[in-house]
Symmetry: D2
Subunit: 346 residues, 4 copies
Amino acid sequence: MIIVLKPQPTPEQIQHVLERIEDLGFTPHLSQGVSRTIIGVIGDERKLQATPLQAIAGVEQVIPVLKPFKLASREFRPEPSVFEVKGIRIGGGHLAVIAGPCAIEGEEIFLEIAEAVRAAGANVLRGGAFKPRTSPYSFQGLGEDGLKILKTAGDRLGMPTVTEIMDPRQLDLVCAYADMLQVGARNMQNFDLLKEVGRVDKPVLLKRGMSATVKDLLMSAEYVLSQGNHKVILCERGVRSFEDSTRNMMDLSAIPNAQGQSHLPIIADPSHATGRPDLIPAMARAAVAAGADGVHVEVHTCPEQALSDGPQALLPEPFAALVDDLRRLAEVLGRTIDACDGVAAV
Amino acid sequence: MIIVLKPQPTPEQIQHVLERIEDLGFTPHLSQGVSRTIIGVIGDERKLQATPLQAIAGVEQVIPVLKPFKLASREFRPEPSVFEVKGIRIGGGHLAVIAGPCAIEGEEIFLEIAEAVRAAGANVLRGGAFKPRTSPYSFQGLGEDGLKILKTAGDRLGMPTVTEIMDPRQLDLVCAYADMLQVGARNMQNFDLLKEVGRVDKPVLLKRGMSATVKDLLMSAEYVLSQGNHKVILCERGVRSFEDSTRNMMDLSAIPNAQGQSHLPIIADPSHATGRPDLIPAMARAAVAAGADGVHVEVHTCPEQALSDGPQALLPEPFAALVDDLRRLAEVLGRTIDACDGVAAV
Amino acid sequence: MIIVLKPQPTPEQIQHVLERIEDLGFTPHLSQGVSRTIIGVIGDERKLQATPLQAIAGVEQVIPVLKPFKLASREFRPEPSVFEVKGIRIGGGHLAVIAGPCAIEGEEIFLEIAEAVRAAGANVLRGGAFKPRTSPYSFQGLGEDGLKILKTAGDRLGMPTVTEIMDPRQLDLVCAYADMLQVGARNMQNFDLLKEVGRVDKPVLLKRGMSATVKDLLMSAEYVLSQGNHKVILCERGVRSFEDSTRNMMDLSAIPNAQGQSHLPIIADPSHATGRPDLIPAMARAAVAAGADGVHVEVHTCPEQALSDGPQALLPEPFAALVDDLRRLAEVLGRTIDACDGVAAV
Amino acid sequence: MIIVLKPQPTPEQIQHVLERIEDLGFTPHLSQGVSRTIIGVIGDERKLQATPLQAIAGVEQVIPVLKPFKLASREFRPEPSVFEVKGIRIGGGHLAVIAGPCAIEGEEIFLEIAEAVRAAGANVLRGGAFKPRTSPYSFQGLGEDGLKILKTAGDRLGMPTVTEIMDPRQLDLVCAYADMLQVGARNMQNFDLLKEVGRVDKPVLLKRGMSATVKDLLMSAEYVLSQGNHKVILCERGVRSFEDSTRNMMDLSAIPNAQGQSHLPIIADPSHATGRPDLIPAMARAAVAAGADGVHVEVHTCPEQALSDGPQALLPEPFAALVDDLRRLAEVLGRTIDACDGVAAV
C-alpha cells in the first residue's frame, strides 16, 4: 500500500501517519520528494483495507498494490481449475456448452427444447424456475414445479443441469434438484446469498453484475470461496453502457483479463449480453476465440410464445449450426467440448 | 404498443402478427407506409409485456408507449406522497436530513455521533448493522447487537432510525428495532427482498442501483408497492461511470426526473455518490436546489478510525455548517425541515 | 511517480528499471517489501510521461502522483480566475448567464430571442453560426451571415456574444465577430483547434467532451493555456451514460471537483445535459447551488420551428422565471450576476 | 416516424400536430387508443428530422422508425463493399492486417519495425506523423518528416500505408504521402474534417469515438460518403466504461452489429481498445471470429523506448504468432488475408 501525502505536509501529519501504520502492526517506509511525500507500507495490505487511512488529515491518496482477493487468484493457484459436473469437465481447455430456455414453462415444452439442445451438442441443460423479472406483473417462474421438470429432463437425457437461485431460503430446494447453482447478475453482490452458496458442494455459476468490474466479479467469487466452496465458474454476460442498440455491452476482454488474474473458469453468455439473435452466434464464436471456457446460450423452439426473454432466444437449428462452428474453432485452438453420453435422448 | 415490421413484409407475416395480437385480446391497428408497416396495439399494454412479440418473424421492433409501472406513477396518484416517521414528514416539500455513521461500531461511539448529528439538525438517524462489503474479509457489521444500539440511540434522542436490510431472513429482526428499512443499491433488484419489505408497514428507503435507470428504480419501487406497502422513499446515490476521480457519478437529474413521473419522495446521498468529503457539501446543496426531498449524509467523529467507509464521512462540524446551508436554501425554495422534538439530547 | 514491480522480480529487472530512471535524469528510490518491490521516482514526473516505463519487463504498474496539468492548476494559481467580457465578470463568485437559441436562423427571429433573454437577465448572448450536426443532411448553420447577425444583436443590446468555432480555418472569421469562442464537446480533444484558440486574446468556453473525465477537460484547457491564452471557461454539459431518459447525464460533481483542482471558472449547461425542458430549470438551480460560475441555457421563442435542438429550448417566460430563481439562490450563497447596461433594448 | 401524444390531448393539440405534419408535406395517420393517441407519419422521415415536432405542446415522444443514414446502409447497397489499396483487398471476407508503431519516431527504427510486421504477415503499414496527445507537453509527432519516412518504407516494402489526419489543413500533405487516411476516435465527430476527407479519392479508416454508438459511427461515415468518397472502413477501438483495468472497453458486438446495417468493412483495434499487450492477441482472435474485416495492431521493437503508447505495443515475435493464429482462424471461417508481394523486404 502506498500513501501519497498532500503537498507540504507538516512534520506532525507525517508523524501521525507513521504512527497509525505502526499501531496497525505494519512497517512504514518514508520517501520525501520535491513535490510529494510518499509512505510505502510493507506487509499484507489486505489486513489494512478496513482501515481508512485515506481519512487522515494530510493524506492525498491511498493506492493499494496487492489484489484484494486471494483464494481466487493465480498466485494462490497457478494452474487453471477444472470442475466436473456429471462427467462434463469445465475449465482448463474443456468448454461448457450450456443451453436451454430462459424459463421452464411446462414439462412438454421443456423436454422438447432439452432434447433439441442435447442433439445439437449442448453438454449442460439450463432453465429458470425462479425468475428475476424487472416487473412484478411478469411471469415469476414455476418454482418447485419447475425444478422437478428440470431434474426429470436432466435425468432422462443424462445432462447436468443449472438453474438460478435468488434467495438464501431457496437453497435446500434448489440443491435437491439441480447440479449447478446460478447466481444471476442482479445478485452478484447479494453477499448473504453468496455466503450461502459458499456452504454447499455444487458448482456455482456466478454471473457478472451489470456494473461490476472484473475485480468486483473476482471479489464476489472470493466470498463463495471463503466459505469453503471452491467450485466457482465465472460468467461474462454484458454490462450496462450508452450503446442503445444492444441489451448490454459484451466485454469479451473480461475473459482473458479474468483468466490472467484467476484460476477460475470463465464462460460467456452472448444471449443476455446482446439480447439479439442476429448477434449471438458471432459473439459466441468470438468468446471461444477469446479463450472462454464455454458459452451459455438461450434456446427456445418457439421464441414468440416464450414467457420470458423470448426475443433473445435462438431457434434449435441456428443453435446447432453455432455448436458446429464452436467445435471447429475449439479444434483449431486446441480445446475440447465434452459430450453427454448418459441415457440416450429421443 | 407499436410494432414496426421489417421492410417489405409478406402478407402472411402481417396476418400472423395481427392474429397473435387478437389472440391476446387486443385490437391491432394497421398503418402501411411507403418504407415501413406499423401496427398499433390498443389496450393496456402492461398485460402484453410478457409476450415476446419481438420474436415474431418480420417484426423489426416493438416500442412500448405506456410506462411499465402503475402504483408508483403520477397517473395513479397525482399529488406527491408524504410519509411520516415518528413525527418527521418526508416528501411534498418536507425534507429528510438523514445522518449517522456508515456502520454501528459500538454503543459509546454511536451515541456520540448520534448526538452530534441531532444537534446539527439531522431529523433521521442512520447506522448499519448488516454491512454489504465487497470483501469477505472486511468488517461485516454487528448484527443484532448493532440494531439494539440503534434503537437505544433513537429512543434516547427522540429520532426515527433507518438501517439496511440485506436478506429476507433479517426482516423480523430489523423491523423489531428500526423505524425505516433501507434496501441498498446492490439489492435494488433483489426481488425476493423487495417482496418481503413490501409486506411490512414501515417506510422503505430504496437506493438506486449502480447501473439502474430511473425507470428501473421506479420498477423496483413498484415491486414493494405491489405487495401492499405504499411507503417507498427513493434515493439517488450515484451510478457507475468512466469518471475515475469520484466513487460514482451523482445523477441529480434523477431527482426532477423521478418526481415528474412518480408521486414518491426522492432524496439524495452525496456521501456514496461522490465518496469525497470535499464534494459532499456542494452536492447536498445542489440536491436540495434540484428539488430533493432530503439528503442522506454519513458523519463520523473520527473518520480515520471508522470500520467502514471512513474516508467519505463528514466530521460533525462541517455537517452542521451544511445543515445550516440546506435550511437557508430550503427557505428560499419554499420547503421545510422538520425538527426532532422528543426527549432532549445530553 | 511510483513503479510497482511484478512479484519476485529478478535483480536484473530491478537494475534495468533503476538505470532507465537515472538515464532520464531522475532519482529512483527502492523499497523492497514481502509481496512487492516498489520504486519511487523523485523529480518532475511530467517530464517522464512520454516515457513508457510501463513497457519494461517486470513492471506491473506505473502510478503517477502529480497531476498532468500545470497552468490550469490551483498550485499554479491559488486564487480563482475572473475574466471580464465587455464588462461582464465571470468566475470568482460572478455568474455568467449565457442564453440564446441553438442556431442563428435569421436576423428577425434572433433579435427577438436576444431581446427576450436580455430582458430576462441573461448577460451573455449565444447563437450558433457553424453547427456540429450528427447528420450531414441537417441544417449546418448560416456561417458568416449568422456571425454578422450575432454581432448586430450583441452591439444593439450591449451584450457580449459567444459562438462555436469548429475548424481552425474559421478562426479569423469568428474572432472578427464574436467576443467569446466556444469549443464544443465533440471538439474538446481536437488538439489543433485548441492550439489555434490558444493563440488569440478572447475567452474560450471549453465544453466537456461526452466521455471526458474532469482531468481530460483540464488537460484540454492546458492545451489552450500552454499557447498563451489564459482565459478559459470550462463547461459541464453532461456525459454519455446508460440512462436513456435524458440526452446525457449531467455530472454536477464536476463543478466542485474542477474548482478544487483548478482556478478556471466552470459553468453548467443543463440544456445539452438533459435535453428536456422539464428538467432544465431544476438542474440550472442545482448547478448554481453546487457552485457553478454560471449557466448556459438555450432559449427559443418558438421551439417547434427551431432548425436545431428545438425540443430542448426553454421559452422566454420560464427562462425569466429561472433567472429570478438563480438570482435568489446566488444571493443566499453570496454570489452576484452582472447585468448588461449597454445600449438599452427595445 | 411515430408521434405519441400525452394523455388526454385536447382536440386543438391533435389538430395542430396534424397541420404541422401536412405543412411539411407528409401524410399523418391518426390512431386514438384508450390510454394514448398516436400519429404515424408516412413519407421519408429523414426530411423531417430537422423539424422539432417533439417541442409541440401535447407531444410526449417522437419515435423515428427509419435509420438516419442512407448511403452507408445495407438497404442502399446490399452486398459488402470491398476496397483495394495497392493490391490489398479489405472487406467481404478479405482481412486487413494493419500494423506498425503508434508514432513514426525516425527512419531507421521505423524501417526496422516495418520490415518486422511485413515479415510477420501484415498487409498494411501504419505510423503516426501527427499525434493527438492528451498532454500539450507530450511528443506531437514528426509532421511532414514522418510522412516522408512512411512513404519511403511503404515504397520499399511494397506495402500500402495509413496515417492519421487531424486537421483539414493537413489534407494535401497527408494525401501526397499516404495511401489511406485515418480519422481518429477523438475526431469522429469533427464534421469539417469528415467533409474534407470525403472529397478525396483515398480510403478513410474511421475510428469509433470513445462514446459513440454504432449508429453515431455510421452517421459519421455517412458524412464522408455524402461528399462523394465511398471508401470508408470502420474501426472498433473500444469505448469508455467504468471498467478501470483496461484502457477502454472493446465492444466486439459492434462488428456484426455494423455489418448487419451497413455494407462498409469494419476492422478492430485491440491495441487501443485494451491498452494491454497481455489481452491484445486474445481480442484480435476474437475480433476475427466475430467477423471483423481485419485488425489494427501496434507493434514496436522496443516498447519501453517508444515516444507514444509504448506500453500497449506488441513485440514483433508475439505479433507474428498472432498473425499465424489469425490465418488459421480465417481459414476455418472461410476468409482470406491478402499478402503484399511488391518489392521484397531486405
